[in-house]
């Protein structure tokens, strides 16, 4: 177990360093991608900037990376990229954290209800069709219907309106939830053909007990895999929703920085998203080890 966790941690650290190398190469080879705040102070003091040698600048860059200092923004030299991104991230996390929690709970509960239901195949067919619609189409359509056409929520995001918050979370969740339910129900239903399920039923155990205690433990591994892939979709959906519904979170911030060509902020956001995903990946892999003991030897 400890060896497996050590392996995973090593992989995580390597991942972060691969990202750092990529971002370092962008900083080094793309002009204007890194604006050093100290350099600007020097310019203000009218000191002629000295050309730095590669290894000296490499050392400075590495120090900046490990302290997560991405310099200052292109348009506002007094604003640090890290501070800007952090403030937006805290705002977005209020929705995203809640959405991930609801996604986890709701998908298990709804999948259980669908698996138990007699109209299971009809629900599955419906989900299969709905899940073909990409998020890029579904999110604008939902906003148009509920906000523009039926006026149920304001036209733009209002931070003081509770329906707005509920609407944002519901719109974020609608597609990932559908997909997660479809995949989980399909897996759960396939599992019912196994011998141990029939044996448990023959012993006289109730259907609910077999579904939850016996079968869910075996599909939990696949469920976590689907969950990881679908949380990533939640991030992509967040970009689209925030930019279309003017939610002042990191999705809108990223879109704004791309349209303003503010390269330091764009790179800061990309680093944030990637490291977020990697952390999530690491967490899910660790839970895998707990759920599936066979993986402990092979991780």
């Amino acid at each position: 177990m400890i060896k497996a966790i050590f392996d995973l941690t090593f992989k995580f650290i390597l991942n972060v360093h691969l990202l750092l190398v990529l971002i370092f190469s962008i900083f080094y080879f793309v002009p204007g991608s890194y604006i050093d705040d100290e350099h600007i102070v020097e310019q203000v003091n009218q000191v002629v900037p000295v050309q730095k040698y590669f290894f000296f600048s490499l050392k400075e860059f590495l120090v900046d990376f490990y302290t997560l200092d991405f310099g200052v923004t292109l348009h506002n030299k007094n604003l640090k990229v890290t501070e800007l991104i952090w403030s937006k991230t805290v705002f977005s996390f209020q929705f995203l954290g809640l959405a991930v929690g609801i996604l986890l709970m709701a998908s298990i509960v709804i999948s259980f209800l669908v698996v138990r239901s007699r109209d299971r195949s009809r629900y599955l067919d419906f989900l299969r069709v709905i899940n073909q619609i990409p998020q890029l189409v579904m999110i604008p359509l939902i906003i148009y219907l509920f906000s523009y056409l039926f006026n149920l929520v304001p036209l733009k995001f209002d931070p003081y309106s509770t329906p707005c918050h509920v609407f944002v979370i519901a719109t974020l969740l609608i597609k990932p939830l559908g997909q997660l339910i479809q995949l989980t129900v399909e897996k759960w239903h396939k599992e019912s053909a196994e011998m141990y399920v029939q044996f448990a039923r023959a012993k006289g155990l109730s259907r609910n007990r077999v579904l939850v205690v016996h079968m869910f433990k075996n599909i939990a591994n696949s469920f976590l895999g689907y969950f990881l892939a679908i949380v990533l979709q939640l991030l992509t959906g967040n970009f689209i929703l925030e930019s279309l519904y003017s939610v002042p979170g990191f999705g809108l911030g990223f879109m704004d920085s791309v349209s303003q060509r503010d390269l330091p902020v764009v790179i800061g956001y990309l680093f944030l998203f990637s490291s977020l995903y990697l952390a999530l990946h690491f967490a899910v892999q660790t839970i895998y080890l707990y759920v599936n003991p066979r993986l402990r030897d092979f991780a």
């Binding site: 190469s25 793309v30 991608s33 890029l136 189409v137 930019s243 879109m255």
Partner: protein, 262 residues
């Protein structure tokens, strides 16, 4: 054969921008923001351009990027995978490095590579350079899982008796690769390529939606949806037409890959 008709249609739509590009860009200030009518089936946009034509051209450009990046990605993946499988010193570390590369999400990697190759965001000198940048960055981000699978497929074949017999019988390496290896990995390769087409189309659409795409002159579907949304309150057809075309393309391509037997 019947189920590949959508794929042929998609290929035909790729060629469409080369013929239709000029008249889809005609600006007419007297016909701005028209709703769908007999003359313009998809209505017109803020500059009086035919939206249906523009969306079809955008869909064609999206598919062109999608297919070009597919070809490059698979060429890269198959080449690296087969080199790794024949290289006896390729060990767990190499596979581990591929795993590490694979675990960063594609969209973010494409954006990072796009900045690196393009030396910035947007403002490219020519259409071809933007197109090439997009294709190369998608390929650089997506080759890892293909290389891993190709390596595994070839490693499974390496101990087989009929391959040893072919070597003993004096078959040249090229003959053995052509006759045995390519034939063996082709079923997996075909399924994987066809499954990846809608995925790549979606990656391209999200990229152009976020501003890393081809720009307004050669707008793809993602960009058209983003642009149409600005006036969606009064003219909903501006985002609905490109969105509908994106939906139809994804539906068609997904239906063509579904296995009817399951």
């Amino acid at each position: 054969m019947k189920k590949y008709i959508p794929l042929f249609f998609a290929l035909a739509l790729c060629i469409y921008p080369m013929f239709a590009r000029d008249f889809s860009m005609d600006i007419d200030s007297a016909k701005v923001f028209q709703s769908p009518n007999k003359e313009f089936l998809g209505g017109t946009d803020s500059l009086g351009r035919d939206l249906l034509q523009r969306s079809l051209v955008g869909g064609g450009v999206s598919l062109l990027i999608c297919f070009a990046s597919l070809i490059l990605t698979y060429a890269l993946g198959v080449f690296i995978g087969s080199v790794l499988s024949f290289w006896n010193r390729s060990n767990h570390l190499v596979v581990f490095m591929i795993d590490v590369f694979d675990s960063i999400p594609n969209f973010l990697l494409v954006a990072l590579f796009s900045i690196l190759i393009n030396r910035g965001v947007g403002g490219q000198p020519s259409v071809i350079s933007t197109f090439t940048t997009l294709v190369i960055s998608i390929a650089l981000a997506a080759w890892a899982p293909i290389a891993r699978n190709v390596r595994l497929e070839i490693l499974q074949l390496r101990g087989r008796e009929y391959l040893s017999a072919a070597v003993v019988a004096g078959g040249s390496p090229l003959y053995i690769i052509r006759t045995y290896y390519i034939r063996a990995i082709w079923p997996w390769l075909r399924v994987s390529i066809v499954h990846n087409i809608p995925q790549f189309l979606l990656i391209e659409s999200v990229l152009s939606f976020t501003g890393f795409g081809m720009g307004s002159q050669n707008a793809t579907l993602g960009y058209l949806i983003y642009e149409g949304w600005k006036n969606a309150l009064l003219y909903p057809h501006l985002f609905m037409i490109p969105a509908a075309i994106l939906c139809v393309l994804i539906f068609m391509l997904t239906i063509s890959i579904q296995d009817n037997r399951s």
